[in-house]
Symmetry: C2
Subunit: 362 residues, 2 copies
């Protein structure tokens, strides 16, 4: 089955770094092979650098980003625990769903889609919640929510942060911000195909881990003996070896470039998109001051049809952009510029194609 | 980081088919790209052929085999449901743990490790269980449990079968055997790296699916709209694109060879190992008549040390075999011959190395 070579400028996956693809082809090792354990240890050390944390329990969950979300709740929520969740898009809603399935009493704190959540509203929502949870970079709206004030004032609560679309693209400072539990995905700003969910958990959080979480697969009590054990490692489940090679290599690319430089590269691409898209006729949708450089959301110029426009981009130019979700389906596009895709050449390519597209509708 | 090229003759992962490794390098598509949806549909059709089923809901869970097990229970167990589980190894025990976390009242039916479970004992364990569950090929013991009598006499129960180490290596006949829910892994007899868990679910089982399972990530109510939807597919989570390319390609290799021929290839390798290993001094451990060709378990010749012997195999010959688990740790080896590894040349290579190893201890 032949398939096309796309430029992936939707909300993820992004195009992977060539070094990552090369790494996927390396000979498979057993999950208990000493050479594989060394590679896993080095991968987790690289993750600590990218997360800006010293958390010992830092490793990739063997599934995609949403399983990272599930791991962040099922391991820390006991029945009846109060969980305050910021909701200004699909992934805040998903957090509510996942936390409720773990038995939480969920207190959603809503903000309009496209707007950021005032951290003070999250802090004021309950006097003594077990968990405060928020999405750092809302993939459905292109909005960045502030994290630092939550960590500084969380009190006894654990702070859970969804960094699926932020890690590697904008500053994520787990230790400086006092984040207890954070998860991400590989297929966004890290430039790796989808399949793993990097997770980091503070010592403080691990003191409160549920003894027998409802999920066996995501049970951190058992997984930690495999990923952080001294000497011998206890088998839990078979690690996804080839994808881990990809993660190891992708983190290597990011760290060789320098994390600050990678952030800067994402910022420059985002700035150019934010500057040029309104000139072509698109409207910037996310709240000013909270716009993600790696994911730009826009309303469409009059006359440009959502489905037909995206189909033309895909078929004529081989460029994928994302449609809107939920209440803004059909009205908003999500333009990603992440990981290896975050190059000025791709920005120029997309802007050129969009100019043609808009001109054709006039 | 340089690493070695092993011959993987442990309990999995096995060496992947070259066509699979090549497929991992293909350009990443978005998970809603029409070309990717076509590839997913074709993959699921290939899975139906390999499972010998017409079940519509046949697809790979986006995680490793144990997540397949979790999906098989959390979607069908309500609090207090009676689940009869056959236990003659690690994976039967794991089923009990996973089912209990989903709220089941578990009735374990135990057999000695290394022995098969009498199906009649499973059928007699409870007059009206909601689920009867058993491992087809016990990866911890090398024993095959009989499935057909369970499907023929299950009554109102759903039949759940773990086919992680059987699918592709020995006959697995989902429809003929009346299996309701079965899961596997990619890294055993299918010759694909670890990372996905093929799952198949009967119409009868889907009529009893739990409306809101405790796991969001594994919720079949939502996933089915992505994997089996007509026309538009509802986004649930981002599919692990590259691994799916690998699965698609690996199933292609198996079906091009012919499933019967693949079974026969595994059988011939197993027969040769079963014939020759005792001549070298190893004892066949699994019950005669229930020995898996793809996974041979042996007791060690006197004087051969478990850890040192496996280390020598790995370091001097680059061959991995597996140690024993649980009560037989240190006493038993698990010799896998699965997927692309299941070639007579590898059998000869291992036997030669083992002869040297045993001779050296005399």
């Amino acid at each position: 089955m032949i398939h096309s070579d796309r430029i992936l400028m939707g909300p993820g996956p992004s195009n992977p770094y060539p070094e990552v693809i090369e790494a996927l082809t390396r000979p498979v090792l057993g999950h208990l092979d000493p050479e594989f354990i060394s590679l896993l240890d080095e991968t987790n050390e690289r993750l600590r650098t990218v997360w800006r944390t010293s958390n010992l329990l830092t490793f990739p969950i063997s599934a995609t980003g949403s399983a990272g979300m599930e791991a962040a709740f099922v391991n820390f929520v006991q029945t009846g625990d109060v969980v305050v969740v910021g909701v200004n898009g699909v992934f805040g809603n998903r957090m509510c769903d996942v936390a409720a399935r773990a038995g939480a009493t969920v207190i959603p704190v809503e903000a309009e889609w496209g707007q950021a959540i005032d951290p003070q509203r999250l802090l004021d929502a309950h006097p003594n919640p077990q968990i405060i949870a928020v999405v750092h970079a809302e993939t459905s709206t292109g909005v960045r929510n502030d994290i630092a004030p939550l960590g500084a004032n969380k009190g006894g609560a654990l702070l859970v942060v969804d960094c699926v679309t932020s890690l590697g693209g904008i500053p994520v400072l787990i230790d400086d911000w006092n984040v207890d539990i954070a998860y991400s995905g590989t297929q966004k700003c890290l430039g790796i195909p989808p399949g793993l969910a990097p997770l980091t958990v503070s010592e403080r959080a691990m003191e409160r881990v549920v003894p027998t979480p409802q999920s066996w697969y995501l049970d951190l009590n058992m997984i930690k003996d495999y990923v952080t054990g001294d000497g011998t490692r206890a088998y839990h489940h078979t690690a996804p070896i080839s994808m881990l090679y990809g993660l190891h290599a992708g983190l290597g690319v990011v760290l060789e470039e320098g994390l600050d430089q990678a952030w800067e590269r994402h910022r420059l691409c985002g700035d150019e998109l934010h500057r040029r898209l309104p000139e072509i006729g698109f409207g910037l949708w996310a709240q000013q001051g909270h716009r993600l450089p790696e994911l730009t959301t826009v309303t469409l110029p009059e006359g440009l049809d959502d489905v037909e426009g995206r189909r033309t981009l895909l078929e004529r130019y081989g460029i994928e952009v994302g449609g809107g979700l939920g209440p803004v389906a059909g009205k908003v596009w999500r333009i990603g510029c992440m990981g290896h895709t975050a190059r000025m050449r791709n920005v120029k390519m997309l802007l050129g194609a969009l100019e043609d597209l808009v001109t054709a509708t006039r």
